[in-house]
């Protein structure tokens, strides 16, 4: 029974908690028990905070019993990628450099989750500094895919994706600069939302590439992502990129109605710019049919080549990441994993002119996507091109070799959500992406929620 609690959605658990039919203390204890049992198999957590979790849970239970229910995150156990600063709790960035780093303040989003009454279970594995992984010589071992622990979770929010799939947290926060929320969601068979750039504060979150870092949720469903977004979205004056744009009630938009919705299908990303695994293409074809049955009007669209977006994205990341790490990687190279160190060193061959050309291209690519979105409510494309590879078969420089289908919307800043749309024959998940107009996460989650409502992929759980 206690393991079954760990696979409830936030929405399901919140309903029971509000009705006082489920105790936040019992729920939290179920997660702590499962973490103790399962985490050694998947390495999702690098730090578990049982005392803090039980303190949060007891407080939530007392508040709810006294009639002070705060909303659907009250008493909900969550985990945070270990680049989110947590006051009094070590925040390592999965790096030997920061093994003893204990922040004095919570990141802005961490404060918001706390204010919403959530329960902090601990800090989750990431690629080192959200930049390089999987690494075997970083501060902690890499997270493993709950569907097959020999396989990759995707990254860099590796623990955030693994924890949701394995039933080790009900909601997690990740970050996405080239796909680091959506790739773990894709490989782990869960839902991950990269909001619009500027929609969620990055304050107190260790940067990878300032101009493309996005914070957002990984959850079991789009409905759960909407619940988390209601808590974390909004302007923050301490984040220079934070946008002063009204935030809607994201859960109110989840009406399941897609009638007349115009969907642009970016088929060339996965059928001609790159040729995806045939099972990805088959899953996309089935998803198109399901969305049409729900009333969506789908038409193919043409964007620039996927490799243009990927080149722009990777060059910007390499330049900005080197800007952040240059001094420390020169002074203490032994503190970095080999993959992080080598990627940073290789970045040094790039020039200032490369960076400027990439940002000029970025403006053009953003214009091109905006132009298509004038005609369509959302865009649809594959969430990835292959099943999760084996952990021992990942090249150090894979990011340079094959484009990630997630990169376009880090470059352009548009909101994009990964949604599970099936399973490969080897039982690893496959997924799609729904992309929206800037600051229209509501429509993105509406489409994802409608799709999830008529499919049962989200109900599958891995055997661990």
């Amino acid at each position: 029974m206690s393991d079954a609690l760990c696979f409830l959605t936030v929405a399901e658990a919140a309903k029971r908690i509000e009705q006082q039919a489920l105790s936040p203390v019992a729920l939290t204890q179920a997660f702590l028990d499962r973490i103790e049992k399962i985490n050694p198999k998947v390495n999702a957590y690098v730090t578990v905070t049982p005392e803090r979790a039980m303190e949060d849970a007891r407080r939530a239970e007392a508040e709810i019993s006294a009639g002070h229910y705060k909303g659907p995150l009250h008493g909900i156990p969550v985990g945070l990628k270990d680049i989110y600063d947590t006051k009094g709790i070590r925040t390592t960035c999965h790096s030997k450099l920061y093994l003893d780093r204990i922040p004095d303040e919570d990141a802005h989003t961490v404060k918001l989750l706390k204010d919403a009454g959530s329960v902090l279970l601990g800090k989750l594995a990431t690629h080192e500094f959200a930049f390089a992984g999987p690494a075997w010589d970083a501060a902690f071992p890499p997270a493993r895919n709950p569907w097959n622990t020999d396989h990759f979770t995707g990254g860099s929010s590796s623990g955030s994706g693994a924890a949701i799939a394995a039933g080790l947290a009900m909601a997690t926060l990740g970050t996405d600069t080239a796909g680091s929320i959506r790739m773990p969601a894709y490989f782990c068979g869960v839902s991950g939302l990269k909001p619009t750039y500027g929609r969620v504060s990055r304050q107190g979150v260790f940067p990878l590439a300032y101009s493309m870092d996005h914070c957002g949720p990984i959850t079991r469903t789009a409905q759960d992502a909407a619940i988390v977004m209601n808590a974390i979205a909004g302007h923050d004056e301490k984040d220079p990129a934070s946008a002063l744009v009204d935030v809607p009630d994201y859960t109110a938009a989840l009406d399941g109605n897609l009638s007349g919705l115009k969907v642009g299908l970016i088929r060339h990303f996965y059928e001609s710019d790159e040729v995806a695994d045939p099972e990805v293409i088959a899953a996309m074809n089935r998803s198109v049919e399901r969305l049409e049955e729900l009333g969506a009007e789908i038409q193919e669209v043409q964007l620039p080549n996927l490799r243009d977006f990927s080149a722009c994205c990777q060059i910007i990341i390499m330049c900005e990441a080197l800007g952040i790490h240059e001094d420390t990687v020169k002074a203490q190279p032994e503190k970095y994993s080999e993959i992080a160190r080598d990627r940073l060193m290789l970045s040094s061959v790039l020039t200032g002119a490369d960076y400027v050309q990439a940002t000029r291209m970025r403006r053009q690519l953003t214009y091109d996507v905006n132009r298509v979105l004038e005609e369509f409510d959302v865009l649809l494309t594959a969430g990835g091109l292959t099943p999760a590879p084996r952990l021992d078969q990942i090249d150090k420089f894979y990011i340079l070799q094959k484009p990630l289908v997630t990169t376009p919307f880090d470059v352009t800043g548009h909101p994009a959500m990964a949604v599970c749309n099936g399973f490969f024959a080897n039982d690893l998940p496959v997924g799609m992406q729904v992309v929206g107009r800037a600051f229209d996460e509501a429509t993105v989650m509406r489409v994802a929620h409608a799709y999830e409502s008529v499919t049962d992929w989200k109900d599958r759980v891995p055997l661990l």
């Binding site: 101009s211 490799r307 243009d308 990927s310 080149a311 722009c312 990777q314 060059i315 020169k330 080999e338 160190r341 080598d342 060193m345 290789l346 040094s348 061959v349 790039l350 020039t351 002119a353 490369d354 400027v356 050309q357 990439a358 940002t359 000029r360 291209m361 970025r362 403006r363 053009q364 953003t366 150090k396 420089f397 340079l400 070799q401």
Partner: protein, 66 residues
């Protein structure tokens, strides 16, 4: 392009040293092998932009109305 795509290993080593890095031999060879992939990405950025094609992020002075 600022460097030829077929830069020799020793020239690449010198280039990294000039930038303050002295990688181990195995790492040097792996990075050298990855250079053509990186240069392919760089080549995609060259589009013959006009002088008026500004970067995506342009500095805005304090007080400017956007």
């Amino acid at each position: 392009m600022t460097e030829p795509t077929n830069i020799k290993l020793e020239d690449f080593r010198a280039q990294l040293r000039a930038r303050g890095f002295d990688p181990e031999e195995n790492s040097l060879r792996e990075m050298h092998a990855a250079l053509p992939h990186l240069n392919a990405l760089r080549a995609r950025l060259r589009r013959g932009y006009a002088h008026s094609d500004e970067p995506a992020h342009v500095f805005k002075p304090e007080g400017a109305k956007s």
